[in-house]
Subunit: 430 residues, 2 copies
């Protein structure tokens, strides 16, 4: 296995592994579907060798699955950095005292609780307001220290009684949470709108922008609304939303009685649809700064409470949602931006002609090369199941030509080498 | 804050954030040392704004700290990929049944235990043999499917009664574990030696190669020896080893009576030293494959047990160790390879002359720019505390020249712009 180092400025960067022979790939042979796995996303991801079930709501990520997850994370990370977010890492374990301070030790209903040494109570954080608020309190004293934007992409936990939806509802799941800290509500409101724009960019890069509605939901006790990002998923969506086709805005079921029109354009013709929540944003205002007595010295010398916002998006949940909505009877259809490899190269020749092509293409793109001694039928079937966005075939029948097929299309095309290189350069340049 | 996208092949890669104004950096103001923090590494890392203590053995990582951790991870990842390792991600939560299968539910003395819904028992994995063995059993059936090498870089847990050593002994800590699976002991032995070479590369890139001894330790019930990687740490090392200066090999205290000479060259003059364990490698042989009845069909048609090896290295522990051994009374001295930024640029001018230099240098290198309205003395002091490997000063006194100082050196030099660019290009080219 060849590993490439790119020397760029002062960083040695190793771009994942850009090439992989399928005969070596760990995960290739998992075909056994756990009998208790009901959800489409888990069934397909397990059959295709992306994940493996440990117990309800808890999964192993195999190499292909981790690649997709990392691709999703990287898109999110870039857009968080672009709006000034600084990445941090917070712990899984929290002492009960932090959750008691906010009153959520008793009220948060899916908290895992455990004992540490000395019989002390701990939880596994399902969200991190209880950690990030006292942390940022330590670095913010005056209005000059605000605003602050920090985010984390890490594993969180919910002790779900019913975890039957694959990656859509894990007991252990990946979350990105961005937390913002402001001098007042006006500054929070302004940043909240910036995050909305960043979320639109993320969703668009994930190729679910057109399917995802900014959905008005209850803001709880301290804000009129919060916003959920709900992706329409006709067959398997767990939520019901009422969508306005003009605005990509929707209203959550819980709000539809008091808010029967589009909150943005007043459109009265909303469509009832099933959907999956992939993110949510929330004006926390002073809910948590009050609990931790987190104030700052304002310009006028007075102590004032810090205003907070939180902005979640679930990479593992997005991975499951992508499979639910981008798949057919033959398998997964990954969006190009998160596909585990750029190209799935199938060698259907009897004399290993694919090897040269593999070496050449993997200089420019990431390639999974099916070099196995399997039948053409099996290779084609596995390729559809895995769902890499572009498939390329080398075969004796094709001679010096190649068959290109996008996973999402029905048709394929036969091209010579020049046309192939032009096609690939164009396809991946964006 | 500017975010750069590099278009390289088909990947959009955003290289962390390559530039940061210190006035914006989250973590800059943490000066308060927790009263119960005894260890040098935690004291310095907290004072310098890399980490923040949540409770004994549990830390938040601030932006600077996460950068160092990621730099360490990336070095390890590249060397694991280079010896055929495929990265996977395993869960934090494991059902008790997996740990009962190996008999370690009762015998492993620092297991966190907790209840999930339905009153089921779970643990937070301190190590992942119980997960990876049944996982790989699902994909390996015949000798043709072996060997398999998989690794993970992720958070693990130990319910330590005494967690007073900062990042050296966390209840929650980062680990890389590589697991290998083989047809027989001979193949395991061969790969074990390959991993040793990879570990030497990692240690050398971390600049602790010359201080780290491959230390013979007990192999437990199923192997004569295991090997620990022990880094000499005269003041704070928790372990005692007997080092052979000729071989970079040592003997652990527990073995020194039965093995008083260098196991490699027979040298009888071993030196007693204090050290910290940063990694260990272990021939598990059939200990775990036996528990999970993990066999494969051999070339001769017989079912044979799979042989396993495991290879650990602790990124968070390494981060703590680096601080313990590379620091002075003024602060941390990061090795160039893991320094959170390439250059710490201090603007000591009265008219913000540093801004132009910052913009120019950050095109080629990652730069932390001290643009704060603080005194020269405070900026110099903070720079020494943070410990970025190269410091650059712009000041009115220097005019068009610059002062370059490596954090590890006493002396600095004054250079003009041409010499500066030559120096930097040379310094970072390696």
């Amino acid at each position: 296995m060849l590993v490439k180092y790119y020397y760029l400025n002062t960083f040695f960067v190793q771009y994942n592994i850009k090439k992989m022979k399928q005969s070596q790939l760990v995960g290739r042979s998992i075909k056994e579907i756990p009998k208790d796995e009901e959800s489409l996303n888990a069934q397909l991801l397990i059959r295709a060798g992306f994940i493996d079930k440990v117990t309800a709501g808890v999964y192993n990520y195999l190499p292909l699955g981790l690649k997709v997850l990392n691709n999703i994370n990287q898109i999110i990370r870039e857009e968080m950095n672009a709006i000034g977010g600084q990445e941090i890492l917070l712990p899984v374990l929290a002492p009960a005292s932090l959750w008691q301070t906010t009153g959520r030790w008793d009220s948060f209903d899916v908290l895992f609780k455990l004992k540490g040494s000395g019989n002390k109570d701990f939880t596994l954080n399902p969200t991190h307001e209880e950690l990030v608020t006292p942390l940022i309190k330590k670095v913010v004293f005056s209005y000059k220290d605000l605003p602050v934007y920090v985010y984390q992409i890490q594993t969180k936990f919910r002790n779900e009684a019913r975890a039957k939806s694959g990656l859509l509802r894990g007991r252990e799941f990946l979350m990105k949470d961005l937390y913002s800290f402001h001098i007042d509500e006006e500054d929070l409101d302004k940043y909240y709108e910036e995050v909305k724009v960043a979320y639109r960019k993320i969703l668009s890069r994930l190729e679910i922008g057109h399917l995802t509605y900014e959905t008005y939901a209850s803001g709880g006790a301290f804000s009129k609304y919060s916003h959920e990002y709900q992706t329409v998923s006709p067959h398997t969506g767990e939520d019901t939303i009422y969508t306005c086709k003009k605005c990509l805005v929707a209203v959550n079921k819980e709000l539809i009685v008091e808010q029967p029109d589009c909150p943005k354009c007043g459109n009265k013709e909303l469509t009832e649809e099933k959907s999956t929540e992939v993110g949510n944003i929330f004006k926390l205002k002073t809910r948590f700064s009050d609990s931790f007595q987190f104030t700052y010295t304002a310009r006028d010398g007075k102590e004032k409470p810090v205003f907070m916002g939180c902005y979640g998006i679930g990479p593992s949940r997005i991975m499951g949602t992508l499979v639910e909505i981008f798949s057919d009877k033959n398998g997964i259809i990954w969006p190009k931006s998160v596909s585990p490899y750029d190209i799935h190269l199938l060698d259907l020749t009897t004399n290993k002609q694919g090897e040269k092509v593999y070496q050449k293409l993997s200089k420019s793109w990431s390639v999974l090369f099916d070099d196995r001694s399997e039948s053409a039928g099996k290779k084609l079937k596995d390729s559809d199941l895995i769902g890499i966005s572009l498939r390329l075939i080398v075969s004796n029948k094709l001679g010096n030509k190649f068959e290109i097929k996008l996973r999402k299309d029905e048709k394929s095309q036969i091209v010579n080498q020049d046309k192939l290189m032009n096609f690939l350069t164009k396809y991946f340049k964006k």
